[in-house]
């Protein structure tokens, strides 16, 4: 297997359903050994991209590489070291958890069967492994899905909306699981519409909207790409707003009625702005630099994209 820096690479990847393009010219690069978030609103084409990567549906245009191998040409070879959950994990309800793992292990290498007790132990299902899956809770099904993914001892895990159906404790546990998998040297690519979840779990992220990747980079890069912001509580607010809007150090001012939010084109201009507000007779009650969250950047990027479209 090639040790390429990227475990997933796509170029010009496009998928159409009839006249509708659900994945448009996607250039995606998932760095090896990271937790990578594929972030976008519902219907943005996240699952379709994952389905193309895994050979569940075909692409209309473009190329893909998994673990350095071109797919679909060398799909079987690539998928040997890939584990995936697409949408929610599916099982035969009339079989036990262990039997369901045997079904999938039969489609992989012979030695995979021997790993079944280990992966059941790893996800804490050893005690319930011989019960029928139809008696399992949603959380247990998710765990069994993770166990099935681990059967392949994967270099790359592709998880589609993995936090769906998990309670807060389950989400916390899942977050820890992803970090441990990355610490073991694996790459985890997860798709999600939950910004907070991606921000807390992932090292790098691609933001997708309407089938197109609109931003890609580390979490810090994306956050910083939004520039520095300050929150200002001042009286009279209209006067303060006008003064800030006129300043060359401020690129944008928004107002929620009681507070101003200014994006700074010069992050070092905060003391100067404060001085000018005070000299103009404005009562400054609060002036606070804020760290932009991924959520704010996501909304900025996707709304900008919406305007451009």
């Amino acid at each position: 297997m090639n040790e390429t820096p990227f475990v997933v690479e796509t170029s010009g990847l496009t998928k159409r359903f009839g006249d509708r393009e659900v994945v448009k010219d996607v250039e995606l690069h998932v760095p090896r050994g990271s937790a990578f978030g594929y972030l976008g609103p519902n219907g943005a084409g996240k699952t379709t991209l994952i389905r193309m990567l895994l050979g569940l549906t075909s692409a209309n245009a473009g190329s893909m590489r998994l673990l350095g191998l071109p797919v679909p040409e060398r799909r079987a070879e690539a998928l040997r070291r890939v584990g995936a959950i697409v949408e929610e994990p599916s099982f035969h309800g009339h079989l036990t958890g262990r039997e369901n793992l045997h079904i999938v292990a039969a489609a992989r290498e012979a030695e995979v069967h021997a790993r079944i007790p280990t992966v059941l132990e790893a996800v804490g299902l050893s005690g319930r492994a011989d019960e029928r899956v139809k008696t399992y809770s949603m959380g247990m099904r998710q765990r069994l899905g993770v166990a099935r993914v681990l059967l392949a001892d994967p270099e790359l895990l592709i998880l589609d909306e993995p936090a769906n159906g998990l309670d807060p404790a389950g989400i916390l546990e899942f977050r820890g699981l992803v970090r441990r998998l990355v610490d073991e040297g694996r790459t985890v690519m997860l798709s999600s519409h939950l910004l907070d979840e991606v921000e807390k779990t992932c090292d790098a992220v691609a933001i997708v909207d309407r089938g197109q990747i609109v931003a890609q980079g580390t979490i810090a890069e994306l956050r910083d790409g939004g520039g520095s912001h300050i929150l200002i509580e001042a009286e009279p607010i209209e006067h303060a707003r006008a003064l800030l809007a006129a300043s060359r150090a401020v690129s944008e001012v928004s107002d929620d009625g009681s507070m101003l939010r200014a994006r700074l084109s010069d992050p070092g201009a905060v003391p100067e702005l404060n001085r000018r507000l005070v000299e103009a007779g404005i009562a400054v009650r609060r002036l606070e630099p804020v760290q932009a969250s991924l959520e704010q950047r996501f909304l900025e990027i996707t709304s900008r994209f919406e305007k451009a479209a």
Binding site: R51, L54, G55, L56, T57, R75, A76, E77, A78, L79, R80, V82, A84, V86, P89, S90, F91, H92, G93, H94, L95, E99, N100, H102, I103, V104, A105, A106, A107, R108, E109, A110, E111, H113, A114, R115, T118, V119, E121, A122, V123, G124, R143, V146, R148, L150, A152, D153, E173, G176, L177, R180, L181, E184
Partner: protein, 273 residues
């Protein structure tokens, strides 16, 4: 969750020989369906037990009015009944084998292993037959033993007739399974497959074969071909409804089998999972 797992082992030559494991997995899926196992048992072994149990009881109760339970004619009745009911369970089983992975979503989980879709499809054939045919074989063995053991004054079937009838019965049931497997893999629906094939087998086939003005076109119906290849001694009428050569009958059955498997395999290989 602790995710530390065993160290990966490199693939070996032996590990590439996977098909028996896929077949075992197919058998596991089927044999763990309690309702299906009960249905198959009842309609094969249960049918033979009830049929010959009733014949033996009737003969024992009133020998003057009811003949012996054995003999060629009762073997014929047994093979006819086991063939009809065996085909029904073969259709149910084939539809399950062809559509259950799709309906549960497990097909997608199997595809993402990288395993060839064609190999996933092919494994269903021996998997289903390994599960089904032993039931039919046991049921037929009961019928054969009863036909010989309780023949009394009637002519007992010859060894050759017993072997030919057994092979014929297994072939008829296996054909029903393959047809259902192919159609279910094409449609992705267990219920539709069972409905279509039961209607074809139980209603359309007898109807079409009885319409004489259809002439030689009736030869393309599997029922006509099975009539032709069945041992003549166990045919109720003593001869097939549609006159056709043995070669033509074998070609018809081979074509139906080939087409069913081709369309089922093609759809499995090309459908969105």
């Amino acid at each position: 969750m602790n995710t530390t797992v065993a160290l990966p082992k490199p693939p070996t030559i032996r590990s590439t020989f996977r098909r028996p494991r896929l077949i075992r997995a197919e058998v596991l899926k089927l044999r763990k369906r309690r309702g299906l196992v009960a249905t198959v048992t009842a309609m094969t072994v249960g049918t033979a037990v009830v049929l010959y149990g009733v014949l033996i009881s009737l003969h024992a109760a009133n020998p003057a009015h009811h003949g012996p339970a054995g003999g060629v004619s009762n073997l014929s009745h047994g093979v006819f009944l086991l063939g009809a009911l065996g085909t029904v369970v073969a259709i149910i089983l084939g539809a399950s084998a062809g559509a259950d992975d799709l309906n549960t979503g497990v097909f997608r989980e199997l595809v993402v292993t990288g395993r060839s879709r064609w190999s996933l499809f092919w494994a269903r054939i021996p998997g289903g037959l390994v599960f089904l045919l032993p039931f039919v074989a046991v049921a037929y063995t009961l019928a054969a033993v009863a036909s010989v053991g309780f023949a009394d004054s009637l002519a007992a079937p010859s060894t050759r007739l017993l072997v030919e009838s057994g092979i014929f019965l297994l072939a008829e049931v296996a054909f029903g399974f393959v047809l259902a497997l192919g159609l279910a893999s094409l449609l992705g629906s267990r219920a539709q497959t069972i409905g279509i094939l039961l209607a074809f087998r139980l209603a359309l086939t007898p109807l079409i074969l009885s319409i004489k003005f259809l002439g030689t076109s009736r030869e393309s119906i599997p029922g006509a071909a099975f009539d032709r290849i069945s041992p003549q001694a166990i045919l109720d009428s003593g001869r097939p409804q549609v006159g056709m050569s043995l070669v033509a009958a074998i070609v018809v059955l081979a074509l139906w089998t080939g087409i069913a498997l081709a369309i089922g395999g093609w759809r499995t290989a090309t459908r969105d999972a």
